[in-house]
Symmetry: C3
Subunit: 429 residues, 3 copies
Amino acid sequence: MSIELRNRLFDQLDQLVLIDPHTHINALDPSSHTLADILGYHYYTELAHSAGMPKDKIEEEGISPKEKVGRLIENLGPITNTIQYSWFIEMAQKLLDFEGDTIDVSNWESFYDSAEEKMSADSWTDTVFSKSRLESVFLTNDFDDPLEGFDTTKYIPCLRTDDLVFHLTNPRTKVRLYEATDVDVSDVASARQAIGKLFEHFVSNNAKACAISLPPTFAPVKVSDARANTALSNVLSQGLSTDEDDQRAVSNFIFWTLAENCQERKLPFDLMIGVNRKVFPEGVFQGQDLYDSRVSLIQYKELLNAFPDVTFPISVLASVTNQELVSYSWIFPNVVANGHWWYSNTPTYIQQDCASRLEAIPRTKQIGYYSDMYKMEFALPKFAMYKRILAKVLAENFVIDRNWSEESAVELGTQLLRGNVETIFNVGN
Amino acid sequence: MSIELRNRLFDQLDQLVLIDPHTHINALDPSSHTLADILGYHYYTELAHSAGMPKDKIEEEGISPKEKVGRLIENLGPITNTIQYSWFIEMAQKLLDFEGDTIDVSNWESFYDSAEEKMSADSWTDTVFSKSRLESVFLTNDFDDPLEGFDTTKYIPCLRTDDLVFHLTNPRTKVRLYEATDVDVSDVASARQAIGKLFEHFVSNNAKACAISLPPTFAPVKVSDARANTALSNVLSQGLSTDEDDQRAVSNFIFWTLAENCQERKLPFDLMIGVNRKVFPEGVFQGQDLYDSRVSLIQYKELLNAFPDVTFPISVLASVTNQELVSYSWIFPNVVANGHWWYSNTPTYIQQDCASRLEAIPRTKQIGYYSDMYKMEFALPKFAMYKRILAKVLAENFVIDRNWSEESAVELGTQLLRGNVETIFNVGN
Amino acid sequence: MSIELRNRLFDQLDQLVLIDPHTHINALDPSSHTLADILGYHYYTELAHSAGMPKDKIEEEGISPKEKVGRLIENLGPITNTIQYSWFIEMAQKLLDFEGDTIDVSNWESFYDSAEEKMSADSWTDTVFSKSRLESVFLTNDFDDPLEGFDTTKYIPCLRTDDLVFHLTNPRTKVRLYEATDVDVSDVASARQAIGKLFEHFVSNNAKACAISLPPTFAPVKVSDARANTALSNVLSQGLSTDEDDQRAVSNFIFWTLAENCQERKLPFDLMIGVNRKVFPEGVFQGQDLYDSRVSLIQYKELLNAFPDVTFPISVLASVTNQELVSYSWIFPNVVANGHWWYSNTPTYIQQDCASRLEAIPRTKQIGYYSDMYKMEFALPKFAMYKRILAKVLAENFVIDRNWSEESAVELGTQLLRGNVETIFNVGN
């Protein structure tokens, strides 16, 4: 009974037209040209590498897309169990008319060719949007992105700020900042001015969020202007050799300034908490980051109290932090639980995390899912995975355990998938 | 099949008459007078606040109970998904004859009036006890509670000690201690004498437990009398400006003295581990506390070894600490796993935590549940929630997965719900 | 439907002949002689002790095996709910022809006698191997084990190294090292020579792994030879009074040297991460260790990067570390997820941990289970427990949720149970 029920709920949730509130789509080149764009996604390269494929076979310069795909296909046998592999198959079936359950050395080449043909159609991106029932997607834009050449209501800008907070030690960042704002950052005042200009540029181009990913050690505090001035001066002159206290003070100052701008511009500030970069430096591209799960939202206490008018959609990297996210969203009006990020974006963790959120966070304060994709083709299988789990949780924990009607369950699911994206980010409504 | 099985097990567990081993009931005013006493519970005010209702609308001085309820009802739409909202509806249906599944602006007022009428009956508290199948409840008494004016076999005293351990910096605590004991605490000897008198007072009034809630940083150690004397002198004279080391030494000394008294009086010492107070100072009353889940029971190693004859029923605030609770209860004879506390008192976490306890802790060393309630009406829906989950775990993990008979499963559930409360706290048998 | 499906999958997995990749079997005395060898297992003594049985009744010197069993049986009532008790009953039924579900004071004595008779047969060990469908088992050998007198293809040596890394402060360790290698360790060079000889001895006797258990605070780093020399000299001369920095430097030096030898000899290095020893010193034999779950695999970052050619099968003690294990196995080619260890070896944690591994770690990089047993009789019920959970996960998360065929699900289970043990440890194929 429960399986038919799940299927009925899924079918209704699957009809919804969605807005994807966090992706890494390039608005000027949103969808794939060949399967190399699909299998080049770090989930496949890193899993193939982990399973034994040498990095230089994966990332050899100058090989053709087809050669790359052929090499990867040969090495996917060890990952056929993974949910990531299932995304590939579902996408192949639903978007590229692949028939069958396995793509391997015996059949990949003809599929490669037919996929390339489909992807070469001018209408391919539109086809993907339509088959995926997507209306628009949030981008992840560098702070110096001109935001030109695309429809910002379909590809919604989001100001990504990791470089500003953590990489002012890199002289290139200061140059990029100057080129983007005409402000030569040398002190607190000019830094504020430059950041203000970035926000102005983004907001006037329909940006609907500011975002950043944060290491587990980060614990933002307000620093005085005097302290920030000294630290900034050292960071700008000494770069990576600046002492850690000064680097931290600059990160804190910039981060706090971002929050002030979010407040002024009424922009939600997406916090993606918990990643350690380059833990495995010999890993493939984008397959080098991991984490220390010993992080707590208590580190954000001062921030959350200082900015009651800023909405903070928070993602946590490790499922062990999810209960804190539930509790902080339940207590703090400005905290929203946001999707299922990266290493927690697998069914077992999604189910546990989704269920615990649904029963204790106000229904208006949960964003069900975002795809985090780099190419448009991934929205369909990733959202499908989530919707199946959501349907399972609604069926078992609400309809069966709590006697909810199916209609009420679908309403709750709809709010997580669509309604809250509209109200929290002020889009699409 | 599993659902009918769960229901059969639930129906049997639901017949039991229970003793609630931890509540915040006021024995002189145990049940509600209007729905304002129900919806004034922090679970509703904090969730309504989190969902956007201004604090000053919730806590405005001088508004009538009915006005307060009307305002809250208007703001419960965003929390209809929560398990806390379901407690309200189930209580309304089972105790107050409400018909329907939703209480909102369209129907609340007549329900308010009919509830008030029912609650005004002299027999209301008895009715609630009877419909909830409760025999008695443990209280949470301030150390200076006179414990007079009520039946201590029905309202069982419990000595709550947070103020003694953590707030001797507050001059008022010393005064209260003097008023309660006639001892003017100035050093280790007088502190011991005063605390001894408190225990004497409580035990002679049928107290069956000592209890305390503890921050995640607390790691009790024994301090020497000399160290304690110096620290105590500073804390009593300098209050909150005393240096942290001294404050910690005093907390340790008092805490250790409490454990010594528990040993002498054969009183279980309830430890509720993991709460950070006032993380969100602008939150509503009782809706300001959160936690850092990075806590370990290893912090209690010295204590657990030093007091082998004291039973420590331990509650943990975060579900990520539950496995340690399972393991420590499995190894230490004096550790008992106690209920599902606060932020872990929601179905997904209860199910996981309950199941993992049932399969690895001796059956005699687990207290299934306590309500933690402030008003008697909450026992029914909270225990009902727990009993449904317990029935599910017994059905799936014991009857189905391990081929237990239904009779044996009900026996195990009965022991968790009733038998162990009797044996561990020496009550009701 | 799901239950019949689980049973079908279990029945197929249960046919497999297995290699147990981690046990504490004594190859010269592998199976039990009486039920005292069974109930003397720390799982029973520690649970009986935890439930109130005095340590001196359990460990009294000079009592007969039968007396010991009689005393323990009297005290197992409080642990009949535990999964460990179910191992005892299943073993009794499947290996010792016990009929019934309970062994208690009413029936234990005749069962004791019939068990003793069966166990006294010369063929008893062979019978246990055969009924358990086991082909061979890995041992846990002290570094100075002569590895003589047994068939090393059936009882496969594994070099256990805790003493070398953590107990060189004990003069006896140095003596044992000398006796085993003829090398008098006094500095880095002689230590390297001695350790090289140990590896030579083990590898030439068919050892297939090196193994160690590690406390949560351990974070291996490479130390210079100069630093190691000073530290080693102090540790060897001052023993336990050596300062902690020196002790840590020696542990790091030895640990790193082990990894170098694993690299040279192509031996997997089993890391069992997270145990604190003697947390409860008054506990029964082997029932004194617990843990601090605040540990992270980030502590092993330097090691995992330094030895890309060494395979590290990693076990974590606490289920809250399992997601890190999943993520690190997914990224690092040299990390393998290994079994379900000790306090995480109970059904609720196994199910969650197993499911999350199966969907995100390459299928070639997961070792399903090891028994960790001290006596051969435990393989059957422990593996049966695991296979039931594995069958449940494959049924629900793969066949039902992801539309896998039953055949594919059984293939995946087979790989976890048998295939990966062969390929990762280079045995049995």
